[in-house]
């Protein structure tokens, strides 16, 4: 690296303490979020200069582990050693000073600034000479082998180039360990090639790379070592030579099916919902399926495979691009959530706090947004007693544990908050309820109660759709399963044919070749 990249007074003591050889060891790491154990005694070792793939299902703890290295989270327990020296990574700043760089899936670039300005954003102060900045950027980009004009606006570049800018930005800080979190998820095949070349180049220069990806073919082409996580624990670390695709998938899945799911013998009724050739959000294509009364339909797939977009389009949260929806045999037009509700559809959205609840308001009020008209007299006044009684009744049926329904909903645990979102739809006259990630951040006890609720809803003749990244959840809760990948339905399975390995194969395998269609979505700025 050129001399002028030496920065005054930013490295602090951590930088001086950073050893020359960047072996990173994370030993016995655990992490609790509230009552939920995200990581449990995880060990992870990366030697200098190696490309280390980190694998696991969604929710296995990969991102949490990496955020601990990046200083965005602090471990609840365990030790981190860097070059044999124990370190406390107490903030992103410390992590950066130690030479660790992380590139998240959502790029953190300023679209309206130039490439050069983005690369050196962190160290710009006082007067900036654009010409020197550009020259330095060019030298760095050349060194990394990126043919990018340093004067171009970042927003005008294709995604792969934007990612390259992120990498250059990290390298400008003398990064010695680079973490890439699903870097190819939004890239088209030729761009993936370019990225893999860059990773190899970094490795040759002695930079260690942690590579998180669901695309197994990439991993076999690039990784030296593979670590597999499952349910927040380490399954093991293996040299790439000892591994094949089949074995890898079996390591990622194959958990014990728990007793959380009620044993069911459901009777399928008439068809409630028929979705035909639904296209949405620009990349969901030709999704067709049907849902019957008394049925629980699972939708599995990786994050970003289009599951949530399908749910939102059916409910009317977003306008679909095209396609038809029939409810109970009648063709319906759903453009807004209100029309969705009128058609008899309810949605429990994936982002509980951002989309499901008004956190500052009382539990009771959150439960009755869907039914408020019923408790309103001709003058628009609320009949509070009727509302209270109804809310208490629903709270009992959904086993919400709260001292008082007038407390803010933010005072509840994650599980009870989720039950409140569910409770909204219980008396709203829905015939179809869609649950997107119904147990994300929910403790085990509340989980089984939520599964019981799903069961009760289906038993009462509702059609239920459960979307989840947790394979065991969709397997345990559903009668039939759709697997989505790259915006399409990659396959469907009847309950008798369920196997985790088959589902994972469907979700992963088609991701590689469908990815090409997926390369042009607009990048959302983080």
């Amino acid at each position: 690296m050129p001399d002028e990249q030496h920065r005054p007074d930013r490295g602090m003591t951590a930088a001086d303490a950073a050893p020359a050889r960047m072996d990173v060891e994370m030993i016995g790491i655990s992490k609790l979020f509230g009552g939920v154990r995200a990581l449990d005694d995880v060990s992870f070792r990366v030697r200098a200069g190696e490309v280390h793939a980190l694998l696991g299902e969604n929710g296995a703890g990969k991102s949490t582990l990496m955020k601990i290295l990046a200083g965005a989270h602090q471990a609840t327990g365990g030790v981190i050693r860097i070059g044999g020296v124990q370190m406390a990574i107490s903030s992103p700043h410390v992590s950066r000073a130690l030479g660790i760089g992380i590139i998240y899936q959502e790029l953190a670039l300023a679209a309206d600034l130039t490439v050069a300005e983005n690369i050196f954003l962190g160290e710009m102060s006082g007067l900036v000479n654009p010409r020197t900045l550009r020259a330095r950027a060019r030298r760095l980009l050349d060194e990394l082998g990126f043919a990018i004009d340093p004067g171009a606006l970042v927003g005008s570049l294709p995604l792969a180039f934007q990612q390259a800018v992120e990498i250059a930005k990290a390298m400008s800080r003398q990064v010695r360990m680079l973490i890439l979190d699903e870097p190819t998820a939004v890239l088209a095949p030729p761009e993936v090639e370019r990225l893999l070349d860059v990773v190899r180049g970094l490795s040759r220069r002695g930079v260690s790379v942690v590579y998180i990806s669901h695309r197994l073919d990439e991993i076999f082409r690039i990784a030296d070592q593979i670590t597999v996580l499952k349910d927040g624990r380490t399954v093991g670390t293996y040299p790439i030579g000892d591994m094949d695709e089949r074995r890898l998938i079996s390591l990622m899945v194959g958990r014990e099916a728990s007793q959380l799911f009620p044993k069911v013998d459901r009777r399928k009724g008439e068809e409630l919902l028929r979705v035909e050739k639904l296209c949405a959000a620009g990349f969901v294509r030709d999704v067709s399926f049907s849902l019957h009364a008394g049925e629980v339909l699972g939708i599995a797939g990786l994050i970003g495979s289009g599951r949530t977009e399908v749910a939102r389009a059916i409910f009317g949260a977003d306008r679909p691009d095209s396609g038809t929806i029939q409810v109970a045999g009648r063709r319906v037009t759903i453009r807004t959530p209100r029309q969705g509700v009128a058609a008899g559809i309810g949605l429990v959205p994936e982002d509980r706090k951002g989309q499901g609840l008004v956190l500052a308001l009382p539990i009771r009020q959150n439960m009755t947004f869907t039914t408020l008209a019923r408790f309103t007299n001709a003058l628009g006044m609320l009949r509070r007693r009727a509302e209270r009684n109804a809310a208490e009744d629903v709270a009992r049926r959904t086993t919400i544990r709260a001292r008082n329904l007038d407390l803010p909903v933010s005072s509840l645990s994650g599980g009870n908050q989720q039950k409140v979102v569910l409770a909204k739809w219980l008396d709203a006259g829905c015939r179809i309820v869609i649950l997107d990630e119904p147990t994300r951040g929910v403790d085990v006890g509340a989980r089984s109660e939520i599964y019981q609720l799903i069961e009760t809803m289906a038993a009462s003749g509702l059609g239920v759709i459960v979307i989840s990244s947790d394979l065991l959840e969709v397997i345990g809760a559903s009668d039939r399963l759709l697997v989505m990948s790259g915006g399409r339905i990659a396959g469907s399975l009847e309950r008798a044919d369920y196997s985790e390995a088959r589902i994972m194969e469907m979700a992963l395998r088609s991701a590689a070749h469908v990815g090409a269609n997926h390369s042009q979505p607009v990048l959302t700025e983080a």
Partner: protein, 331 residues
């Protein structure tokens, strides 16, 4: 399982108590600031607590008080209405000029409609076209002022005989010893408090400001409700313009210059969050009275007008600092 649940509920319980204490402190800090101010004022000046002076203060804040309730609704949804002062001028001019050829019973409703029209413009662009309320109402602010100046040709308009009741009957009149303009302000306050506390509309306004997306995804139509608060704000601004006109007997195109800032200050002193979802009618009224008392003390102490501006600004900063330091921080 039991262990997990305990671990999960304990931090929640702590947070809950913390929140209660904070919101309690916040709702009382508005009142506390006001009480301290009144105490200080009565020590400083013996005439402060005289009924004549109190009536004077109340009369002076009647206009701001009426507008502040509309502003509160707008701010509760997470918006802002900068056009209120100009719309008050429009209401003032419309009313006075119509009174030269029309009866009071036609002039006043038409003036209120003029306010509603301006509010409809703001509401349309904010709620339907999703434009930032700051920009939209800034535009409406100059449009309304411009219309007022055009109609009046930049000159004050005397109300004439048709408007005599406004000046004599309304402005000088009283009910239960309360001057009618003040009673009108209290009526507007009472209705706002009622709507916010007891109606579905009020609850949804607060909820929309707190998390509009969650409300929308419950199947509630958000757009017409956001639209409506701007219309209400427009009507109340025009009403305030008429109250001010009644007081002076003259319709003026320069009524309410800078008034939007006083009103926003009052709402904020009352503890409302400019991010929306938090604020009450009572605290807003106290915010209005606080500003009124500050101005009044300085008048009683013969603080020169220019100095008053500086002092007022400092006191607003201090009041809001007290508010914000007791509110929990939200990311």
């Amino acid at each position: 399982m039991a262990v997990i649940q305990t671990a999960d509920t304990v931090p929640g319980a702590g947070r809950r108590r913390g929140l209660d204490v904070r919101s309690l402190a916040a709702s009382y800090s508005t009142i506390a600031i006001f009480v301290v101010l009144v105490l200080v004022a009565s020590f400083i000046s013996t005439s402060f607590l005289s009924s004549r002076n109190i009536e004077n203060v109340l009369r002076q804040v009647a206009g701001t008080g009426v507008i502040s309730m509309g502003m509160l609704l707008v701010i509760l949804t997470g918006g802002i209405d900068l056009s209120v002062g100009s719309v008050a001028a429009l209401g003032s001019i419309t009313c006075a000029s119509l009174l030269t050829s029309m009866s009071l019973w036609s002039a006043v409703p038409i003036s209120l409609l003029a306010g509603a029209a301006l509010g409809t413009i703001s509401g349309y662009f904010v709620a339907v076209r999703r434009m930032p309320s700051f920009v939209v109402t800034l535009a409406c602010m100059t449009i309304a002022r411009g219309i007022a100046l055009i109609v009046s040709e930049g000159r004050p308009i005397f109300m004439g005989d048709n408007g005599a009741w406004l000046n004599d009957g309304f402005n000088r009149g009283s009910i239960l010893g309360i001057p009618l303009p003040v009673a009108l302000m209290l009526l507007v306050f009472g209705v706002t408090a009622f709507v916010l506390r007891l109606t579905a509309y009020g609850r949804l306004i607060v909820a929309i400001g707190s998390n509009g997306e969650a409300v929308r995804l419950s199947g509630v139509r958000v757009t017409p409700r956001v639209f409506s608060v701007y219309v209400i704000s427009g009507v109340l601004s025009a009403l305030a313009g008429i109250i001010i006109t009644a007081r002076s007997g003259v319709g003026s195109p320069v009524v309410g210059i800078g008034m939007e800032l006083d009103v926003i200050a009052a709402v904020v002193i009352g503890g409302a969050s400019l991010m929306g979802g938090r604020g009450t009618a009572l605290n807003t009224l106290i915010g209005v009275l606080t500003l009124g008392v500050i101005g009044n003390i300085m008048n009683l102490l013969n603080v020169p007008g220019y100095h008053q501006e500086v002092v007022k600004g400092v006191i607003i900063l201090v009041a809001v600092l007290l508010q914000s330091s007791v509110w929990p921080r939200r990311a």
